[in-house]
Symmetry: C2
Subunit: 297 residues, 2 copies
DNA sequence: CCTAAGCGGTGCGTTTTTTGCACCGGTTTT
DNA sequence: AAAACCGGTGCAAAAAACGCACCGCTTAGG
């Protein structure tokens, strides 16, 4: 698209940090690129770059422009997908940023079912923590976010929300394994593994521990992989914690998952969201509806 | 803006209906314009015009593109206003499509107060019926609509709504002038004026008349100007109908406005709205908040 | 029936715009 | 003090856009 060239060059300069580097990246002369940037600023009416001795950096006006560029580009992609949709192609691409818990069982199942009905649709699924997911939405790098307890930001539009109680996962031979629910103080007195403070599970546990018991969350092993932690419970008597949606007990017959007592630990909120005010591409919008339906049952 | 040239040419062709006419309008040769259009379609990947023997018309893909062009243009205007805002200029433009009733008193007062605090902001105020107002929003020709009982369309996002009872307006010496409220059947037995079916007042009156009385709305004078109708009531004993927000009884001391009985006539809904999913320019967004606040009191 | 008018599209020479090259003045690094 | 980058500029070459004349086609109107 010829008319988006200026935007591409601007983004190139942003990425490279200087005109000369960007020019090299994009196989063009520095002088030509320089003139394009200057001409754009001229027509735009405002400077968008600070000229530093070591290169170029966006000024606030440039930040706003960058956001416009990204929004415009994503809108254009949506337009194209709509157009190709009406010529009967039924293609499209969906990009999702999600929490770890969704990766092993939930999303594969939903996506597989969706693709069975819409074989032309492709997917990008990225594991992102709640802060990164929100940033990706606002940069139009992802269409959909499905994360636990994101920091509530203005640009995050919550489409659907669902509470998930934290479960304690352990070997079936563990002393606590027989109970219906487990009190937090009991769980914490046994050796346990936990994720770092970056993850909602840990934050909820810490908050609950401060409120209800004198025990502390004191993990034997700290990891950023829930997959690792749950599987570790298969090898040593060790309690790990995870949301039910991330668990598929049928595949790990030696383990049991028992919810923590409601009065101790608040459930985690799984939030399905998108960039506020954005109109999603057809494929993404349809998949989002599918997601909601699946979550509801 | 150089990079919007293609869009301008495309819109020119849409307006003119043929390349040759558009070329004349835009002071360019038909051949050059033709090549631009063809090149754009080439790069876009889809034809956007039907080639008819008598000229060019948009095909469905073109309709989608046109919507994108308008949205993109309005988004760019918002970007500029944001940028100029952060260089401290506090300028902007607000365009409003509204019902007649808002024109004489309500909007002048609100806009004047707003401009007193924000002298750099300019306004466009257009009188549009409820169908036209919604079309203007979806074409990004207006930022804000303030209309009675618009046909509910998907693209109309209701921001605030307020019920207004229809009032009967008459000379203070009219036989019905003393009452607290007026029954519809009483009003209709006296000579009255009414707007055409295009207007919400008439539709509400007709609906109510069919439901509650055997009398019919049978106006001596039918007009599309509420201003004319109310003022006509000053010269002959004649009942006219209007929403309270369009009335300023202090300026017409000979007239009285008396609400019609609630059990007879449903109140009209005054709706404040914008294009669904659109992020308004700063000035328009602020003015919209101001409007809501004023309506609330 | 034919003609004239209007339509979109195309080949070609000309004009305008963009690019590449060489080079300037400035700041930072070594 | 020299070397390495940086953004910016004058000028000629290359590329893109344009205007003109003309084609084939359909329709409106006598």
């Amino acid at each position: 698209m010829r008319y988006l060239k200026d935007f591409e060059f601007i983004e190139g300069v942003i990425r490279a940090g200087s005109i000369r580097k960007a020019a090299e990246d994009m196989h063009i002369t520095a002088s030509a690129l320089n003139r394009r940037i200057n001409r754009f600023e001229d027509e735009f009416g405002y400077e968008i770059f600070e000229r530093l001795p070591r290169g170029m950096r966006l000024n606030p006006a440039g930040e706003l422009l960058l956001h416009h560029i990204r929004s415009q580009r994503s809108d254009f992609a949506r337009l194209k997908s709509q157009v190709s949709d009406l010529s009967g192609v039924r293609r499209g691409h969906v990009s999702i940023a999600c929490s770890q818990a969704l990766l092993p069982f939930f999303l594969p199942q939903v996506i597989a079912r969706y693709r069975h009905n819409h074989p032309g649709v492709t997917f990008t699924v990225n594991n992102r923590d709640r802060v990164a997911a929100e940033r990706e939405l606002s940069e139009f790098a992802s269409d959909i976010a499905l994360v636990f307890e994101p920091r509530t930001m203005v640009d995050f539009e919550i489409v659907y929300t669902m509470a998930q109680p934290i479960c304690a996962v352990m070997l079936a031979s563990h002393p606590l394994a027989g109970r219906e629910t487990i009190r937090l103080r009991d769980a914490l007195r046994y050796p346990h593994v936990a994720p770092s403070e970056k993850y909602a599970v840990r934050v909820l546990l810490e908050t609950a521990a401060r409120r209800t018991t004198s025990d502390k969350v004191n993990p034997v092993i700290e990891s950023d992989s829930f997959d690792f932690m749950c599987h570790y419970s298969e090898w040593e008597h060790m309690i790990s914690f995870q949301f039910p949606i991330g668990l598929n007990m049928a595949r790990t017959p030696d383990l049991v998952a028992i919810p923590l007592a409601k009065q101790d630990v608040a459930p985690g909120n799984l939030l399905l969201g998108q960039q506020r005010g954005r109109t999603l591409p057809v494929a993404s919008a349809r998949f989002m509806r599918e997601l909601m339906a699946t979550l509801q049952e």
